[in-house]
Amino acid sequence: MGKGVRTVDSGQGSAARKDKGDKKKVTTDLSVDIAGIKLKNPVMTASGTFGYGEEFAPYLDLNRLGAVVVKGLSLKPRQGNSPPRIVETAAGMLNSIGLQNVGVEAFIEEKLPFLRKFDTKVIVNFFGDSIDEYCEVARALDGADGIAGLEMNISCPNKQEGWLEFGTNSDLTSKVVGAVRKHTKLPLIVKLSPNVTDITTIAKAAVDAGADVLSLINTLSGMAVDVNTRRPKLGNIIGGLSGPAIKPVALKMVWQVAKAVNAPIIGIGGIMTAEDAIEFMLVGASAVQVGTANFIDPEATVKIIEGIDDYLRKNGVKRVSELSGSLRI
């Protein structure tokens, strides 16, 4: 961290805020560059929590966001899982939406033109149930106008080889990332699953196979039971846990991966406030994604961006990128 940090006493924060003249003196730079994707600030929306952007347009100015990461796309439209699809748990929620989406073709024709109207980077999350499908989706997206980068969801079962999730095995991760790499020139983000014995091995496999950026973590696998009916609370029995409950787990994994690989990292997992986002940056993330918080407050991302800016001013940090990996141990 720069010298500025030490010259500002932490207790002065609120006093400095009241003095507007003082605030003007500090110019902050929130922009970050992630593998060539230039973001105006480090805050993106997490896939699956922001629809295709249009759902949130009535609630916030999409131009304010670092990037919109859209709901995960497959080659063909998917209906999703049988309800109930969500259940609240302690400081979190389980979901088993089942990757319902409009499919890559409808996305390019019907959803992307809307997003192109904004001065915000569009990152497209996608998945497949075979290596071929991953490649085909990546190829289709590579030719579309207005996409800044791709984010691969590798927490999907491989239909062709025993239903093992790609992201839980380093060989499979390597194979699928390597194959997709050949089909896109766009910056490639690989989103890691936390449901593994050692996330750093998978992280290394992804980067070695051609991932430009890693994003983590995806949801933690979990379940909930209704004791009165003795039935699982989700139609799909198991689902993915998200929200504040998973933040400490996510933070630790980002810290571990940041030490293990050289690629930029996008931190994800239970971010509700600017403080949460800053924690992820301190342990090594270059940017963050806000997920479940969008459901609870559609304006959460904008509030987090403003909160990060406040933090930089209060602490005399000029560039947000200076925060990345500046954890003091």
């Binding site: 759902e55 609630y59 309800p83 699809r85 609240e88 400081a91 969008n294 609870i296 559609p298």
Partner: protein
């Protein structure tokens, strides 16, 4: 938006009325809902959906039943406490009935959307009747409000403590004298909605149901509140899902795949 509680009154052992400041008064269609949460609270985490019951001088009134953690905590809300509110959301009842008679059928807390719809119907001069049922006399929240409105009403309770003894759905059939000139609106427990839909479909009477579901966002993004629908025209099954929050909460009964509800 952050706003203030005006009052929080217990009206029956399990039912409360919550007055929420909302100025200038919003335009809310009957059947629309708001989502509430405690400001900055992470447990409970998600907002809860509540139908708007009445428009009051300084805002809106919610009718709620104590069913779980969130609503239990809500009973502790006091005047001037802050709540975080999002809305109005959803489509609401389309009250352009084409001068048909309206039969409303409510079960328990399912009464919530009907105060506004009765008021709206009285303005347009359409004939309306309310069938209101519950387990017992303590399960008919807002009954006095509807008496004051002077709407024609039939009541039933499962324990017979007030009105006719039995299920409210048993009152429906005799009310449908001419299915072509009657429109049914209903809200209540799933079993009741299924039965109302079955009767309406058999009589070929138009029927609109207000569904309730667990939801995270309320704005069509989380895809959590999915309900299975069938194609209305062809009757072909397995047409995918609609979202209760955005495509509903009010649906044409013919649209829903009732076996999956």
């Amino acid at each position: 938006m952050l706003t203030e509680v005006i009052y929080n009154r217990q009206i029956l052992p399990l039912y409360y009325k919550l007055g929420i400041r909302w100025e200038p008064r919003p335009f809310v269609k009957p059947g629309q809902f708001v989502m509430l949460r405690f400001p900055n609270c992470i447990d409970p985490l998600l907002r809860r959906p509540f139908g708007v019951y009445r428009i009051i001088d300084e805002g809106i009134e919610i009718l709620y039943k104590v069913v779980g953690k969130g609503t239990t905590l809500m009973t502790g809300l006091r005047p001037e406490d802050m709540v975080d509110m999002l809305g109005p959301l959803g489509n609401g009842f389309s009250l352009d009935s084409g001068k048909k008679d309206i039969v409303m059928l409510a079960g328990g807390i399912g009464i919530a959307p009907f105060y506004l719809s009765v008021v709206s119907g009285q303005r347009s001069g359409v004939r309306q009747k309310l069938l209101f049922g519950g387990r017992g006399k303590d399960d008919l929240p807002g009954l006095e409000d509807f008496k004051k409105l002077g709407i024609e009403m039939k009541i039933s309770t499962q324990d017979g403590s007030i009105g006719e003894k039995g299920l409210v759905t048993e009152l429906l059939k005799p009310e449908i004298r001419n299915p072509k000139s009657t429109i049914i609106y209903t809200c209540g427990p799933k079993g009741m909605l299924k039965e109302v839909a079955r009767i309406a479909l058999n009589l070929d009477a138009p029927c609109y149901v207000s569904l309730d579901n667990v939801m995270a966002c309320g704005i069509g993004a989380c895809l959590g509140c999915a309900v299975k629908v069938r194609s209305q025209e062809s009757g072909v099954r397995d047409q995918g899902y609609k979202m209760v929050c955005k495509d509903g909460p009010v649906f044409d009964a013919r649209e829903i795949e009732w076996e999956k509800v």
